[in-house]
């Protein structure tokens, strides 16, 4: 009887291990169970795609899939469930920020840095910092532009903080939601697309906004050329992070849809940057005393020549 009990316990242990390795019943990210057969399928199909494997970081993907399966097993109404989204150390956050500012060509941000440990700390606090940086910088820039004028009375423009907060948090949460829904929908039609979980997309978007923080501080300089150069530069950097992340996810789809998706991502990102620049920072060329004098000269010349 004792040996039978031991055998049953061993079976139970094995079953528990298998369940821990692949808990599709309790995890919320739905890409892990289906991702491994898809990658094997694509490997069988085209063996010449080594750079894609490197892009996807599939060297240790099996290990990360297993590790990912063991997280997030607390029910969603407990505090521990939300603690799993803040399971990062200082050096990890700094590494992710560095990865978003210096995009390595050919490396995928999600696979390289996030590695199935998406955090909410970075997106939330980067967005909060960006909101206040844009509001403060815009206020400072307007102050310096209008400084000499006698009719100018400084106002702190506190309304703009709430507008900035709404805009940036809506961008950082609704656009990933839409993108995730779109990728899920395409995933159901075209089977071999790499898909990301919702939190990983939020993570990429949050960290990609980091470059706008120093950009917003530098926008205080009241030169139009400088501002537009900064816009282009930061757009290239953060846009490339986003493009390199999402291109492998849509590449296997219809060519037009893939290009349209990536194009929409870049256009929305550009709209955010340009919109913030236009709304929070006044245009620097607001000095009009010069044109009055030539008109006076012209009128005196005309009267003299009569």
């Amino acid at each position: 009887i004792a040996s039978l009990v031991m055998y049953l316990f061993a079976e139970f242990d094995d079953a528990a291990n298998l369940l821990a390795a692949n808990p599709d019943a309790t995890t919320i990210s739905i890409d892990e169970p289906t991702e491994i057969p898809k990658q094997q399928h694509s490997r069988l199909q085209e063996p010449g795609r080594e750079e894609d494997d490197e892009l996807l970081g599939t060297d240790d993907s099996d290990k990360t899939e297993l590790l990912a399966g063991q997280k997030k097993s607390a029910p969603f109404w407990t505090f521990e469930y939300y603690q799993t989204f803040f399971d990062v150390d200082t050096y990890q956050v700094l590494d992710r920020i560095k990865g978003s500012v210096f995009p390595v060509p050919g490396k995928n941000f999600v696979r390289l840095y996030i590695r199935s440990n998406p955090d909410l700390y970075g997106p939330f606090w980067i967005c909060a910092t960006l909101v206040f940086t844009i509001a403060v910088s815009g206020n400072l820039s307007n102050f310096f532009i209008h400084l000499g004028k006698p009719t100018y009375h400084y106002v702190p423009e506190f309304r703009k903080v709430s507008i900035a907060a709404t805009t940036i948090y809506a961008y950082a949460w609704l656009v990933p939601l839409a993108l995730w829904g779109f990728l899920m929908w395409r995933n159901s039609k075209v089977m071999n697309i790499v898909s990301y979980s919702f939190l990983e997309i939020v993570c990429v978007y949050g960290y990609s906004l980091f470059i706008y923080i120093p950009t917003a501080i530098l926008w205080i300089i009241p030169e139009k050329v400088v501002r537009w150069v900064l816009v282009m530069f930061s757009l290239c950097l953060s846009g490339s992070v986003l493009v390199m992340t999402f291109w492998p996810a849509v590449r296997d789809d219809n060519r037009r849809i893939a290009l349209a998706t990536v194009g929409t991502i870049v256009v929305l990102h550009a709209l955010l940057a340009v919109g913030c620049l236009a709304y929070f920072f006044d245009a620097p060329e607001l000095d009009y005393p010069a044109p009055i004098i030539p008109a006076h000269n012209v009128s005196t010349v005309i009267t003299k020549s009569r």
Binding site: F86, T90, W125, A128, Y154, P156, F158, R159
Partner: protein, 217 residues
């Protein structure tokens, strides 16, 4: 139970002792005696506790009094006085002026709650209300800065007054951040201290910005 049958008290040993239970525990909590004390004593006790915590904030040593006996009276008083002093600014009709009372209130309380949640989610061992208490009390240097700024603005609003206000606000901002970090940093896991300190820095920076950009009508 077979072995216990022969344990018994022999009848020639007298049983003696007291069986009365002493009534009225002499614990220092004086639960039942605060009903009889004068109202002035009750209020003074709470006021003294709040005042002691103010002193702890101004001279931040690592004492546990602020953490152990938390209360939210001090933060409430500081928040209301700061929000009141931030009124009367350049309130033009095209509401482009400074923060309204409700905005200051919401920023302070909501900001403190978010920072507390952040530190607890990162694995901090401090309790929710203790952290709120510390963050609220450490607004005291900034309230003092606001008072000084309003007094300086009464004298004039030129460049000199701006420089004085800038120096005072920067000094008080540094004081607030260092005081709250001194109290809160020990309860965090060691490899995440910077992740917890940065939001506190941002919180006091926003309050300092509101104080510095206050312009009277």
């Amino acid at each position: 139970f077979a072995g216990l049958a022969d344990v018994s008290i022999s009848e020639d040993i007298p049983v003696e002792g007291e069986i009365t239970v002493p009534v009225g525990s002499h614990s220092p909590d004086e639960d039942y005696s605060t009903l009889d004390e004068p109202v002035r004593d009750t209020i003074m006790r709470d006021l003294k506790a709040v005042g002691k915590k103010f002193v702890h904030v101004m001279y931040p040593k690592k004492s546990s009094a602020l953490l152990r006996d938390w209360d939210l009276w001090g933060p409430l008083v500081l928040c209301v006085s700061l929000a009141l002093m931030l009124q009367g600014g350049s309130a033009d009709s095209k509401d482009d002026g400074g923060p309204q009372f409700a905005e200051v209130f919401v920023i302070i309380w909501f900001g403190a709650v978010v920072i507390t949640l952040n530190s607890k989610l990162l694995g901090g061992t401090i309790s929710f209300f203790q952290s709120l208490c510390v963050l609220g009390y450490c607004v005291l240097p900034l309230t003092v800065a606001m008072l000084v700024c309003r007094l300086v603005l009464l004298a004039g609003s030129g460049t000199v007054s701006f420089i004085i206000r800038l120096i005072v606000v920067i000094a008080m901002f540094a004081w607030s951040t260092l005081a709250s970090t001194a109290f809160l940093a020990d309860s965090q896991p060691p490899n995440r201290k910077a992740l917890v300190v940065y939001p506190i820095f941002l919180f006091y920076f926003v309050i300092s910005w509101m104080i510095l950009t206050f312009t009277p009508q």
